[in-house]
């Protein structure tokens, strides 16, 4: 009989999750979201140089690799499901 065991875990999880959410709500974690957007910027790193064309091409290359992988997946899946 494993249901009581799982149910206890689910209920404990819900209780802890609910409590933390309630704390967050009450302690103003969801207020002042505009300022929160800037929190990571406090210790800004070294100034980067100007954007290079090479850099752009490299990122485009990554995107095309990623796209190629997705397209290959879709094409092969389509082929496997419908044509073979």
């Amino acid at each position: 009989m494993y249901y009581p065991f799982f149910l206890t875990y689910i209920l404990t999880g819900l209780f802890i999750g609910g409590t933390v959410f309630y704390w967050a709500l009450k302690s103003g974690q969801f207020s002042d979201q505009q300022r929160a957007r800037f929190l990571a910027l406090e210790d800004i790193g070294p100034q980067a140089g100007p954007t290079s064309m090479r850099g752009r091409y490299q990122l485009y290359f990554i995107f095309s690799l990623a796209l190629a992988a997705i397209l290959a997946s879709i094409a092969l899946l389509g082929y496997a499901l419908f044509f073979s």
Binding site: Y9, F21, S27, Q29, R37, I44, P46, A66, A72
Partner: protein
């Protein structure tokens, strides 16, 4: 030297440095184990009768070392840097941090020795024997305690989304690891029958969903705004993504068991929520990509940012694939095949591993006050991994579909082996590329932390 790298800083960041080294070193061991295992798929007799090099022992060593030796410590390294900074305070205890690192490494060494010697509990991602399980749970509790006390001592009232993710990842992993490894049954580490499978995959999926994903998201949410020099697109959206992840991810473990006689309602919940994963995934990606909009040049300039941003692209791919694989009609073809292995590599190496490395390269100059030893080596490692992961994805997807289709049509396993042989060869050579990348990374990180004034990156 850039201004902020020379800024006097009282923090020692010893814990962050320790986790940097842990990750860099174990990445080499983990990828070497993977490489040897991949070669064995091509040449099964290669290692003869050396029992501790059998595929069945190397595989769990590889998988567990990648998860707990390379990726998690890499992500924790940057977390130990940015959590105190986001809270405008110091880490609660660097000493405690060092204790956790030592314990962590002892657990990893014990993991390699015991699994190599054949001591295993035989459940995927939960192979380690009981004493190691206890050690890992203890380490996560200690890390959570350190972070929680840092939160308590904070000078910034609002918890930035990265802090939410790190706290959740550490405490939830302590709980689900203990649960999933059935830690109250030291001998077997298992329940019996179907409930055990359900529990195991609840835990197994949570390793990705409640450990790697939140830690990676936390790192990206910290690094991308910094690198782009612009505020996060929406903090509200990020919190929505956080809570959605907690609610949805916990329900989808059973999508690993669609071919198993588990209750149908549970499969339905798992499938529906696997599709619903699009909510937290897109909340995260839209937020990060909108923050980076028009700033790709800045991202390219920062090697850490470059790794992290690429990791987010991989997250898109792995999630789309994941949601597709959760559909029973698709999984009838893909289950148990190399397709799943392809998905696993995009997720763990392409997404979480890339972000972990990005976190290391972003953090190291800031915790040492010196530039990286070599930007070139880091760039080289970046390209080797990108090519490796993209190659894995393509090769494993193709061979997975060959296997899946053949098996679905009632073909026997051995008759398919010649057809996938070439893909296994390519896979092993890509593995070599990634192993070499890990050596380059480890050397670079070691030199950056200890020995050098560094080239100007």
């Amino acid at each position: 030297m850039p201004e902020n790298l020379t800024r006097p800083n009282t923090a020692t960041y010893l814990t962050a440095k320790g986790f940097c080294l842990t990750s860099a070193a174990w990445m080499m061991v983990a990828t070497l184990a993977g490489l040897v295992a991949a070669i064995e798929l091509v040449a099964p007799d290669l290692t003869g009768n050396i029992t501790w090099l059998l595929f069945s022992r190397l595989r769990p060593i590889h998988v567990n070392l990648v998860l707990f030796g390379f990726v998690t410590p890499g992500l924790l390294a940057s977390a130990f840097y940015f959590v105190p900074r986001l809270l405008r305070t110091q880490l609660y205890s660097e000493k405690l941090g060092i204790v956790t690192i030592v314990l962590w490494n002892i657990a990893l060494i014990a993991l390699v020795i015991t699994l190599g010697a054949g001591f295993t509990q035989g459940r995927e991602y939960a192979e380690m024997i009981w004493p190691i399980d206890v050690g890992i749970v203890l380490v996560f509790i200690l890390i959570f305690f350190n972070f929680a006390m840092t939160v308590k001592n904070r000078k910034e009232k609002i918890l930035y989304v990265s802090v939410w993710y790190v706290l959740a990842a550490t405490i939830l992993t302590a709980c689900t690891y203990a649960m999933g490894n059935v830690i109250w049954q030291p001998d077997s580490g298992a329940l019996s029958g179907i409930p055990d499978a359900i529990l195991l995959w609840f835990y197994g999926h949570n390793v990705f969903g409640l450990l790697l994903t939140p830690l990676s998201a936390a790192t990206a949410y910290y690094i991308i705004p910094q690198v782009c020099r612009s505020p996060l697109y929406s903090h509200t959206l990020s919190l929505l993504g956080f809570w959605a992840l907690i609610v949805i991810y916990t329900h989808i473990g059973t999508h690993h068991l669609l071919q198993v006689p588990v209750p149908t309602w549970l499969k339905v919940v798992a499938i529906v929520d696997s599709i619903a994963m699009v909510i937290p995934v897109m909340a995260f990606l839209i937020n990060i990509w909108y923050t980076a909009r028009g700033k790709l040049g800045l991202i390219h300039e920062d090697i850490g940012g470059k790794f992290v941003f690429t990791g987010t692209v991989m997250y898109f791919i792995v999630s789309i694939r994941g949601s597709m694989m959760s559909l029973p009609d698709v999984q009838r073809v893909t289950h148990f095949s190399h397709w799943v292995v392809g998905h696993a590599h995009v997720g763990v190496l392409g997404f979480a591993g890339m972000i972990a490395l990005g976190g290391l390269y972003f953090t190291i100059p800031r915790i040492t006050g010196k530039p990286l030893f070599s930007r070139f080596l880091a760039d080289l490692q970046f390209w080797m991994i990108v090519i490796g992961v993209a190659g894995f994805t393509i090769v494993l997807t193709i061979s997975g579909l060959i296997q899946g289709n053949a098996w679905l049509n009632g073909e026997t396993v051995y008759r398919i082996l010649p057809q996938i042989h070439i893909y296994n060869v390519v896979r092993a050579s890509l593995g070599l590329l990634i192993f070499l990348a890990s050596i380059a990374g480890c050397y670079n990180i070691f030199r950056s932390l200890f020995l050098t004034s560094g080239e100007n990156s």
